[in-house]
């Protein structure tokens, strides 16, 4: 129930809202004297307001997930901060990479990862689809993955290799940290990990749009999906579109849907992108594909690039992380820390 539904005068309502109290839950744990002080109403008025608030609320406080507020779905920042702190991240299996990512790939956000061919985008995508399945006991989300393959780069044998290595790593962890090997035996098998990846192969942009529209229904039926990887989001959009305005509309519609999915189901969306050359003022520069308007749609952007003989990742855009780069490597076991001794995390 929203504050504006409370039977209080308009001026009292206005004072409450300007003090920041828009949801009933925000009134749930405040004393009348605090409320009076903050909203600049009299003590008796504050008492009345709190009485009305507890009356209107029938049977238990609702969760502060944005259900009762002045706009449907709105939350106050305090609730959001609490939520953010409790989110688990998806590790990339490279501690350096996780470090600059603030723990790993964030849930409830859309992360775009772009780079030249052969830099390891698909490898990272597969690693994330495997790592999301790491059980809670090992600090993971214990979730499932949706892998949307638009290019045909996903190779089952490679996913199997990465899955096997992940299980081996968990067993190692058990042996050295837990020491109670029997109690926390890994019951996961590589084929179980493969079974938890919902794999879709897309051959045209219309299929891509249709699938992304369908995801809401699919994830509602598979609530344990915690990551959606699209490899790559670009490929089918780089053909000639007769109507470029249509392409821009379609792309932004798609980005919006993915963002909604991320927020609604608290999952991570990882979009892999290609690089292209941008012709600016007579010279060519590298940029992620799909253009300028697309670059505004993702929450985070990571660029993968070569620095000499090493692979590096760079945080190009993020609302919460600072610009930094870290080295990583692609090994037989998947994405790991770079093995070179002079690696370091560079802060910009």
């Amino acid at each position: 129930m929203e504050i504006w539904r409370l039977p209080i005068s308009a001026s009292q309502r206005g004072k409450l809202i300007s003090a920041g109290y828009t949801t009933l839950s925000s009134l749930s744990s405040i004393s009348s004297s605090d409320l009076a002080r903050e909203s600049k109403v009299s003590e008796s008025e504050a008492l009345d307001i709190l009485k009305f608030a507890s009356h209107s609320h029938s049977g238990g406080w609702e969760m502060s997930s944005g259900n009762c507020s002045i706009f449907e779905g709105a939350q106050n920042a305090w609730d959001m901060l609490h939520e953010e702190e409790s989110l688990v991240h998806i590790t990339t299996s490279s501690a350096d990479l996780d470090n600059i990512l603030g723990g790993g790939i964030h849930c409830k956000e859309v992360t775009e990862i772009g780079g030249v061919p052969g830099i390891g985008k698909t490898q990272l995508g597969i690693q994330i689809a495997v790592n999301v399945q790491i059980p809670h006991g090992f600090g993971g989300l214990g979730g499932k993955a949706i892998y949307i393959d638009t290019e045909g780069s996903f190779m089952v044998e490679r996913a199997l290799q990465i899955a096997e290595a992940c299980i081996e790593d968990m067993s190692e962890y058990n042996r050295f940290i837990r020491k109670d090997f029997q109690a926390c035996e890994i019951r996961m098998q590589p084929k179980d990990i493969l079974g938890n990846i919902f794999y879709f192969r897309i051959c045209s942009y219309t299929e891509q749009i249709a699938l992304i529209n369908y995801l809401d229904k699919f994830i509602s039926e598979h609530k344990d999906v915690k990551v959606v990887v699209v490899d790559s989001v670009t490929f089918h959009f780089r053909q000639d579109f007769d109507d470029m305005a249509l392409r821009t509309r379609v792309l932004s519609g798609m980005a919006l849907k993915l963002m909604k999915l991320a927020k609604k189901f608290s999952l991570a969306v990882v979009l892999l992108n290609q690089v292209t050359t941008k012709h600016t003022e007579g010279s060519f520069q590298l940029a992620l594909a799909l253009g300028d308007s697309w670059s505004h749609t993702c929450t985070n952007r990571i660029v993968l690039y070569w620095n000499g003989n090493e692979r590096y990742a760079y945080i190009d855009k993020s609302p919460s992380l600072r610009s930094a780069s870290a080295a990583y490597s692609v090994t037989r076991r998947g994405i790991r820390n770079s093995s070179s001794s002079c690696k370091r995390i560079k802060m910009m």
Binding site: V116, P117, G118, T122, Q123, I146, E151, G152, S153, F154, M155, V156, E157, R158, A159, K191, L194, G195, I197, F198, Y199, F200, R201, C203, S204, A210, L211, Y214, F218, F235, H236, R238, Q239, D240, Q274, V275, T276, T277, H279, S283, F284, Q285, L286, W306, G308, N309, R332
Partner: protein
């Protein structure tokens, strides 16, 4: 929409006919995927393509695809004689797996292509061609030798034309991948190289894949068709060749009177990028019987 059951999918591969190369490629050229071979002329691209077109006819139990091949060539003439020569040794070493009176060359369908638009036309007709071929040995390998020749001369070097060209790349790649997916085909393309001129910085020095620089015949090269095309293929292999001048056996220096110059061509196959292969390479030779990897063993 139904998600695919990964546990029941294995990527089929087509053997190259050489166990050493197969080991490098983890089985051979994968189906449902586009593999590109980049090299300068005379490095062996066409040899590998011909060899694969024949070995695709082997039964699946022996690494083949039980399939015929569609060979689209853009450079002329098509090496019919070499294909025939290879088919002789192919037939003799694989006699028990092939029907007796069959000529393996009959199972390689050859079509010439002269332009990118013609290729698009052929692609749309290919679907019905493949469907109708199901009655005999179905087509499960498409070779395009070479893709570069279709684009090299047609487009001016202006941003607008280059954009149009790269749109064509994605269109062709998309059609090939859709075919590959639908009929579980392997697609093998060859590409040429261009010399790298100028300083190794900016776009010029853009590194793609495992090799910082590609060298062949002592020159620094990079694959033709640029970054846009590199985004269109799943795997890229590079063949290099290198003339090595060896000292002659009687110990005399090269050029000294009585000394012989012994030249040898060293050939190497590199994995530039592939989603299922680590960085690796191996040497190979081209003989009358075909193209074979060699293992350099320490003495």
């Amino acid at each position: 929409m139904i998600s695919q059951n990964l546990l029941q999918s294995t990527t089929q591969k087509c053997t190259t006919g050489c166990p050493i190369l197969d080991r490098l490629l983890r089985g051979g050229i994968p189906c449902d995927s586009i593999t590109e071979i980049v090299a300068e002329s005379g490095s062996g691209k066409t040899q590998i393509c011909l060899q694969l077109s024949l070995h695709a006819q082997l039964p699946v139990s022996h690494g083949g695809l039980s399939a015929s091949a569609l060979y689209l060539h853009t450079e002329f003439p098509f090496p019919f004689r070499r294909l025939h020569q290879l088919s002789l040794s192919f037939r003799s070493s694989n006699a028990r797996h092939l029907p007796c009176n069959d000529n393996p060359c009959d199972r390689v369908y050859v079509q010439s292509v002269h332009s990118a638009d013609e290729l698009l036309e052929i692609m749309s007709k290919t679907e019905s061609f493949i469907e109708s071929s199901k009655t005999q040995l179905p087509v499960r390998l498409i070779v395009i030798d070479s893709i570069a020749a279709l684009f090299r001369s047609e487009f001016d070097n202006t941003p607008v034309e280059l954009k149009r060209r790269s749109s064509l790349f994605f269109k062709i790649s998309s059609m090939l991948k859709a075919l590959a997916r639908r009929f579980n085909l392997a697609v093998l393309l060859t590409n040429q190289v261009v010399d790298m001129v100028g300083p190794n910085e900016g776009i010029n020095g853009l590194r793609i894949g495992n090799l910082g620089c590609l060298y062949t015949s002592g020159r620094r090269v990079c694959p033709a068709l640029g970054l846009a095309w590199a985004n269109c293929v799943n795997s890229r292999l590079f063949l290099s060749r290198h003339e090595e001048v060896n000292r002659e056996e009687n110990g005399k220096l090269i050029g000294e009177s009585g000394g012989f110059v012994c030249k040898q061509t060293r050939r190497k196959l590199y994995v530039v990028f592939a989603p299922h292969l680590p960085e690796s390479s191996c040497e190979f030779v081209i003989t009358r019987e075909g193209l074979f990897g060699v293992e350099i063993t320490a003495c």
